[in-house]
């Protein structure tokens, strides 16, 4: 420890200009965030731009400080003076870790705490999220910077590594299709975080204790490819399985039954009108056994079309974008290839539908006067940006976690309500882990819903209108497999722009 402290003091005495630059960036970022990241437009819009720029410069500054620190005693090469001096490798590593803890991690925590407190949110109740955020930044910034530092000799080498990683990233963008998974994207993020944490820590340890640069460089390349190319290849199904395991059901799901309900609706769309690709097919369902105060949401679907026992086409898992009213789950829209549709549209086929579902439990509703400029909701602070326009943009700000998935309704005495769903779609324990700011901003949407019989604009314009916000908490994730025999695709095709099928008299 004595030697570690000695090396640490040397690094601090030499790197104080770099430390000062990074601390200034962090301080500027903190101040600009406290000043500008207001839920409803800033009175200092120029600071928002500055906060954005600083949001890039801060992680870059941290990474620069870390690699510069490691390069004080470069590990690759055979000419460094320290190699033939009685350095204990463990002490050297401890000295570097101490430095990172003090000038990177601690300043990150301080920055986040100042921003959270500066925006009026309590720090102590958010401490778990703040620490998890450090964990994420350690995985995505600190350890990768250390890993790059231990396999490079100077900043030119780092630039080369950066260019190669950028190239892999560009190739990935061109070759691998990555789709965003609204509810379970966090599984991919967290998995990447664990992957980076494990691999980068192993590389850093290996290089400090064994100093085998060739192998460590191969490991860095492997790690980069795995994270950049491998993560987008993670299957939706696997991620949903993780989600199911992460939140075991707290109720008996056997009672929740979903069955095909083919007799209920038919498409009235003339075949000639169907020209868009892919083709949207709405498969009618009957949902029973749903406990009161709960709602079911389809997160993903997987369709197979079979003729007899032979499977003709599979969709693979498709994530649902929640573009429909899900409070009454009476049909499931799936998308099929237009060629398959044209060849099979009039012939009876069997459709096998696998569903990845989530049960949401309604919380206690909050009633807010519709034209109140500012209000608090679910730990968030919300603000109507322009109450005079419709639909009114409402922006909410919270520490670390966006407002929960929320049912938004407009109510007025004697008037019907108009409902939309808003808030975060993510099932992540915490969201703002890798964001520049620990504050999570979300827009609450009040929409004129398609097919709604209510004129929500008229409702909004009433002075006694209220916004009713009902938070929803995911309580279970599960799968169901359904079979629809003897289906003619043409009977269930959705007309362009329509979200549900209506019963044909």
């Amino acid at each position: 420890m004595k030697q570690a402290m000695h090396i640490f003091r040397k690094d601090v005495s030499h790197l104080w200009p770099q430390i000062a630059i990074v601390l200034m960036l962090v301080a500027a970022f903190t101040v600009s965030n406290i000043q500008s990241s207001r839920p409803a437009g800033s009175e200092h819009p120029e600071l928002r731009w500055l906060a954005g720029l600083l949001g890039v410069l801060v992680p870059v500054g941290y990474a620069w400080l870390i690699v510069t620190l490691v390069h004080q005693e470069p590990l690759p090469g055979d000419r460094q003076f320290w190699l033939t001096r009685p350095y204990r490798r463990g002490s050297l590593l401890v000295a570097k870790v101490l430095f990172v803890l003090l000038f990177v991690s601690a300043t990150m925590v301080a920055k986040d705490c100042f921003i959270v407190a500066g925006r009026g949110f309590p720090v102590i109740p958010n401490i778990t999220g703040l620490l998890l955020r450090q964990f994420a930044w350690t995985a995505w910034v600190v350890l990768p910077a250390l890993a790059v530092g231990v396999v490079t000799h100077n900043l030119q080498d780092v630039g080369l590594v950066g260019a190669l990683v950028g190239l892999v990233y560009a190739l990935q963008g061109a070759l691998v299709r990555k789709s965003f998974w609204p509810g379970i994207e966090w599984v991919r993020d967290y998995f990447g975080m664990l992957l980076l944490l494990t691999l980068c820590a192993a590389i850093v340890l290996w290089q400090y204790l064994r100093r085998e640069t060739g192998k460590a460089r191969v490991a860095v390349a492997f790690c980069s490819i795995l994270v950049i190319v491998g993560l987008p290849l993670l299957s939706w199904n696997a991620a949903f399985t993780v989600q199911m395991l992460a939140r075991g059901p707290r109720l008996d799901l056997a009672k929740v039954q979903i069955r095909p309900n083919l007799a209920s609706v038919r498409s009235a769309v003339p075949a000639a009108e169907i020209s868009q690709a892919p083709i949207a097919i709405a498969l009618p369902l009957r949902l029973t056994g749903l406990p009161s105060g709960m709602m079911i949401v389809p997160d993903g679907t997987n369709v197979a079309i079979a003729s007899g026992q032979r499977v003709i086409w599979r969709s693979g898992w498709q994530q649902n974008w929640y573009g429909m009213r899900t409070e009454q789950y009476h049909s499931q829209v799936v998308y099929i290839d237009i060629g398959i549709y044209r060849s099979l549209q009039n012939q009876p086929v069997t459709i096998r539908l696998s569903l990845g579902l989530t049960l949401l439990e309604n919380g206690t509703p909050s009633h807010v006067p519709a034209h109140q400029e500012r209000f608090a909701f679910g730990g968030s602070r919300c603000e109507e940006l322009s109450p005079e326009i419709y639909p009114p943009p409402i922006s909410c700000l919270a520490a670390l976690k966006s407002p929960p998935r929320t049912l938004v309704a407009l109510e007025a005495p004697g008037a019907a309500e108009s409902i939309s769903q808003t808030g975060t779609w993510s099932y992540a324990p915490y969201e703002a882990l890798l964001d520049q700011s620990p504050l999570a901003a979300t827009s609450l949407a009040i929409l004129q819903l398609q097919d709604s019989p209510v004129d929500s604009r008229a409702l909004w314009e009433r002075p006694d209108a209220q916004i009713v916000l009902t938070p929803q908490r995911p309580v279970a994730h599960f799968r169901r497999d359904l079979e629809f025999p003897g289906v003619r695709l043409v009977d269930y095709v959705l007309p362009p722009g329509q979200a549900i099928l209506r019963a044909v008299p």
Binding site: H6, G77, D78, R79, F81, T84, R85, P86
Partner: protein
């Protein structure tokens, strides 16, 4: 105590190229051992393997009784290492360098460090990056001798230095190396000759010989044989006779296994018409050149 440096069939390979080839070498305690050879002979690789900067590809080496792969800070605190191409922390001043290194060495002697600073005329407040090459080497040497190491390893320390600085360094080294073992690589033979007690000649990664200086000097002689007529070299030319040259009635060569009686008998047998045989002692530099040229021709 065993020899401070011992190599047994030590090999080091880089991407299939043997830089050091089955090297057997022992450096006795208290010796000043000079490892000489042309550029690329494998001197630096040998030293870096001894210092555990490189891991051996084959064989083994011991330094201060410890396998080089197991060298720990304990052994390194007894070794002073200076290399011509070492990357020093250039941002440090001489004073900071000495102060920074001091806690690493329990046996650090402040007085000795100060003495060397004075003797080498080192500017304490100047950063290493602003020092001349000679001054940098002096600073490196001072920082490597101030803890009275048991073993001093020097890799081409005098390369590119002016003669005055070289002399100062050698003097400084010899004054403080009393009792220590010195292992020095160089192709600067004139200086080596003046103070080395042992010498090894490395060529293409192979150690061609390793012996005491006095023995080496007695083994090599330049022979000049004057004949009656223009000479014809005998077909059975001895292997130990290097670099044969002929001109009018004279044959010159280097005998690398010279023995007063045996060699003269052999010369007379080879050249029965010899009118005169001149035997000249050779300086190290000449020996080195003869060996190097012979190896190059053979290659």
């Amino acid at each position: 105590m065993s020899d401070p440096i011992r190599c047994v069939e030590l090999s080091k390979k880089f991407r299939g190229v043997l830089a050091v080839n089955r090297l057997d070498l022992s450096v006795p305690e208290g010796a000043i051992y000079a490892l000489v050879g042309t550029n690329g002979a494998g001197k630096t690789t040998t030293i870096k393997t001894l210092m555990n900067i490189f891991r051996p590809s084959g064989g083994s080496a011991e330094v201060l009784g410890v396998d080089t792969r197991q060298i720990s800070p304990r052994e390194l605190s007894q070794i002073g290492y200076v290399s011509e191409n070492q990357e020093m922390p250039e941002w440090m001043t001489v004073k900071y360098l000495l102060a920074y290194l001091k806690p690493f060495y329990p046996q650090w002697d402040d007085d000795l460090a100060q003495e060397m600073v004075r003797e080498f005329d080192l500017p304490l407040d100047r950063k290493l990056r602003h020092l001349s090459r000679g001054m940098k080497m002096k600073a490196a040497l001072a920082s490597s001798l101030a803890y009275r190491p048991k073993l001093i390893v020097l890799d081409e320390p005098f390369s590119g230095l002016d003669p005055l600085v070289r002399d100062e360094l050698i003097e400084g080294l010899l004054e403080r190396a009393a009792g220590a073992t010195v292992f020095i690589s160089s192709h600067d033979l004139a200086e080596i000759e003046s103070f080395a007690s042992h010498i090894g000649y490395l060529d293409g990664g192979r150690l061609l010989f390793s012996e005491e200086m006095g023995t080496l000097a007695s083994h090599f002689r330049e022979i000049e044989v004057t004949l009656d007529a223009p000479p014809v070299l005998p077909a059975a030319w001895p292997q130990d006779w290097l670099r044969p040259e002929t001109s009018s009635a004279v044959v010159r060569f280097v005998d690398s296994r010279f023995d007063q009686e045996r060699s003269l008998d052999e010369i007379r047998r080879m050249f029965p018409n010899a009118r005169n045989i001149a035997v000249n002692a050779m300086p190290l530099r000449q020996i080195f050149i003869a060996l190097a040229k012979t190896r190059r021709q053979a290659a």
